[in-house]
């Protein structure tokens, strides 16, 4: 099968394997029962378990957000006390960031898609992958315990000395986040090694799907930044348990040092949250434009550039905290540099659409919503990076709005694009296209209603994390609250049609979007081991000018552990499938 010629180039003889359009056996029914799920080391099942978990936390965080918005309908007390309000905004932030955004695309979608796109049977360390899911669960349990034993009211940033003094259960929460960090690290380690070592024959770095470049960049950030968060929250926990005093001014420590430590992780963490979203958008736009991606290397390398420069900009969270003017200048400068690769990506996506054959399916609609909202998020980021303006806007609702435009308008929209894009591959079912588009429209309107007014009131001086506010801001708050209800309705519709799709959705073919990417060259839902053959890659994932027959190539393999004794009949296989 494999011969070696003089120049030491491996020659493979390949055949075309057309995916089975209605597979009887696939990863969802290969093993049965709850236990088979809980102990599964299959990356696809682990991805789905993550998906279920983050959906739960998104619901929880979303309900908390609606409670906050309802309380803010009137300037003084509406229906909850200040302490409860403070706990709820802390939980909303911590849950959405640590339990939803960070694992959303990498751990849920990434786990599902990465080995499929690599043409591998699984990630490099499947058991570690399962372990990371359980570590995530344990971290989540700690957090839930913290909620029920005193709550936590420090804001998701846990700034000292307040976090060292407050009577709420900071200890439990920081331990939860410490544990969670390991889950994130293990996912990162797994992805880096898998991308390096387990690419299918022919899948060179310049044919790597952009989703994988984005996941690769994300994994690097996860591996480099998360340990610093781990040591920071560990020191904070020790601060409360033993009073070690490194961050507590009452014991001679320095609270600004805490902020440096915290943002050294948490700024790159923002890129952990958004860079994988870029990957999804690249996939979706090229598939639905049915066109080669414009500026493949520009998009791939800008992800890495963002990852690296992202490590050097943490100080822009501290322009008012008292760092030296020189430090502020350097951080401001580097912040603007990060803006450039981000801008380049947006232009490249636009150029990909140019002269394409654009099919306005739901994932594409979300991708466009992403482009619009994320651009606003980016420009307001430029605003906040400008030193003198940031002095005015820092810690106001302007920052809240900016962050939500980037994280929700950016990452969540990319995540929804990804969910709708890979849904048929995950479950072999289609969702209702009409209702999906309606929901997308409602979410778009609700989102802008919620957060556009926040830019205005922030610029007018409304500080964030305020339970009471002065009367002049009330109309903005009321409009924003109304918008949040619209947003809630949009997500409700989405939950309904997705559940409907699971139960009685129309069957999806192996490649409903006509994509050239590798994950669509296997059946839907994917087989237990992803491919019944070893895929061989000849063309790039965006080579839409080449015929489909050049994308379904592979070599039959006669070993795969779980199908022992089963013989792959290459001859009849090819005779049948030959184009």
């Amino acid at each position: 099968m494999a011969t070696t010629d003089a120049s030491n180039i491996k020659r493979l003889q390949v055949r075309r394997f057309k995916p089975d359009e209605s597979p009887k056996e696939h990863y969802l029914n290969a093993e049965k029962g709850l236990w088979s799920w809980l102990t599964s080391v299959d990356h696809k099942r682990i991805g789905l378990m993550y998906l279920a978990s983050i959906a739960f936390f998104f619901l929880l965080g979303g309900i908390l957000a609606l409670v906050l918005r309802t309380e803010l309908l009137s300037p003084a007390r509406s229906f909850i006390d200040a302490d409860v309000y403070n706990q709820i905004f802390t939980l909303h932030g911590a849950i959405m960031i640590f339990f939803f955004l960070v694992p959303s695309v990498p751990a849920a979608l990434g786990n599902f898609v990465l080995p499929l796109q690599l043409g591998a049977k699984d990630v490099a360390f499947p058991r570690l992958n399962l372990a990371s899911f359980y570590i995530y669960t344990i971290g989540a349990i700690f957090t839930l315990i913290a909620i029920f034993t005193g709550g936590i009211d420090t804001g998701w940033t846990f700034y000292t000395p307040y976090s060292a003094e407050t009577s709420t259960n900071v200890m439990m929460m920081t331990l939860g986040i410490f544990i969670l960090g390991f889950s994130s690290i293990l996912t990162g380690v797994n992805f880096i090694v898998t991308i390096h070592k387990m690419r299918a024959p022919g899948l060179t770095w310049n044919k790597l799907p952009l989703m994988l470049w984005a996941l690769y960049a994300t994994s690097i950030i996860q591996v480099l930044a998360t340990p610093v968060l781990a040591i920071t929250v560990l020191l904070l926990a020790m601060e409360r348990a033993l009073g070690i005093g490194i961050f507590d001014p009452a014991l001679g420590g320095d609270p600004v040092l805490y902020q440096h430590f915290f943002w050294f992780y948490s700024h790159p963490a923002v890129y952990i949250m958004i860079v994988p979203g870029f990957g999804v958008i690249s996939e979706v736009i090229s598939t639905f434009s049915r066109k080669t991606v414009f500026g493949y290397w520009a998009i791939a390398l800008s992800s890495l550039a963002i990852a690296f420069i992202g490590f050097l900009v943490w100080g822009h969270h501290m322009f008012t905290a008292g760092q030296s003017s020189l430090a502020s200048m350097v951080f401001s400068f580097l912040t603007f540099l990060v803006g450039i690769p981000t801008g380049i990506k947006i232009f490249n996506w636009l150029a990909t659409m140019y002269k394409g054959s654009i099919d306005m399916k739901t994932p594409m609609l979300y991708a466009m919503v992403f482009l619009f909202l994320f651009t606003i998020g980016g420009f307001t980021g430029i605003m906040l990076g400008a030193l003198v303006v940031d002095i005015h806007l820092h810690d106001t609702y302007y920052v809240v709005a900016h962050f939500h435009y980037v994280m929700m308008g950016g990452m969540v929209m990319a995540f929804l694009a990804g969910i709708h894009y890979w849904w048929p591959k995950m479950f072999g079912k289609m969702y209702n296209e009409f209702w999906a588009k309606i929901a997308c429209g409602i979410i778009f309107i609700g989102f802008n209603m919620t957060f556009l007014p926040q830019f205005i009131m922030g610029a007018q001086g409304m500080p964030r994390r305020y339970y009471n506010y002065i009367d002049q801001f009330q109309p903005f708050h009321q409009f924003s609250t109304a918008g949040s209800y619209v947003l809630g309705v949009g997500f409700l519709i989405m939950a309904t049609y997705l559940i409907h799709s699971l139960l009685r959705g129309k069957k999806a073919g192996s490649n409903p979007w006509g994509s050239r990417a590798l994950e669509w060259q296997t059946s839907s839902p994917a087989p237990h081991h992803n491919f019944e053959h070893t895929p061989v890659i000849v063309n790039g994932p965006y080579d839409y000018h080449k015929p489909m027959s050049e994308f379904q190539l592979g070599i039959a393999h006669s070993h795969n552990g779980h199908h022992e004794g089963e013989k792959v009949d290459v001859e009849t296989g090819t005779a049948q499938e030959k184009a």
Binding site: K121, V189, A225, T226, P227, M238, G245, S558
Partner: protein, 218 residues
């Protein structure tokens, strides 16, 4: 296309999702290296705290480090370097298929790690007796510096976390001994030994940084 050439005997240790043993070995080794990078950054946070406070209060470090016992620190450094050597010999034994040598070398490494922890234990108790506790429990009056408690907070955090890593290493090596006795390793498959060795070297290297930074300040 010859069907038979692809049908090779798959060794027992080879996971089904790897193509061959080399790929599996490379992946495991790379995974460990990446993990070690995270470890370095984990300790890096503490080193950063160390550097920041040292640049603010250089005289504090000079005074406080005299409380640390350089003699036992040196002994411990020697013990750990020795254990790095024996763990390397354990890997060598595995490569040469000498399972008995592997087990003996692992036991020596475990003993050295244990000696390290015992010495550390006595160093800690000695300080506790004087009232040198971390942070707010600090009661010792022998150092005329108001931030002396912070130095010892950093000291306890650094050496304590390092100690936890030594304990984890002991656990891993006991696990290796059990597996080796069951005959799990051979020259064809010794990946766990190799990557545990990598981990152990890192634990050693971190100590080699901690020792001069904490004990040898003049």
């Amino acid at each position: 296309m010859s069907e038979t050439s692809a049908v090779k005997e798959r060794p027992e240790h080879l996971k089904h999702y790897f193509v061959d043993s080399d790929q599996q070995f490379d992946a495991a080794k790379m995974g460990m290296w990446v993990f070690l990078v995270t470890e370095i950054l984990f300790f890096g946070g503490l080193f950063a705290a160390y550097i920041v406070y040292r640049s603010w209060y250089p005289e504090l470090y000079l005074q406080a480090s005299t409380e640390l016992n350089t003699f036992w620190g040196t002994v411990n450094t020697a013990v750990l370097i020795g254990s790095s050597l024996t763990v390397a010999m354990a890997i060598r034994s595995a490569q040469l298929n000498q399972i008995k040598g592997l087990i003996i070398n692992l036991w020596i490494t475990i003993s050295l790690a244990f000696i390290f922890m015992v010495i550390k234990f006595f160093e800690y108790t000695h300080k506790f007796e004087k009232g040198i506790f971390p942070g707010e429990y600090y009661t010792y009056e022998g150092i005329a510096h108001e931030k002396a408690n912070i130095f010892f907070s950093i000291y306890y955090m650094m050496t304590g976390l390092h100690g936890v890593h030594v304990l984890i290493g002991i656990g891993l090596m006991i696990f290796l001994v059990v597996k080796a006795k069951k005959g799990a390793f051979s020259s064809a498959y010794y990946t766990p030994v190799e990557i545990t060795g990598l981990y152990w070297h890192l634990v050693d290297v971190i100590w080699i940084f901690l020792f001069p930074l904490l004990y040898l300040i003049d």
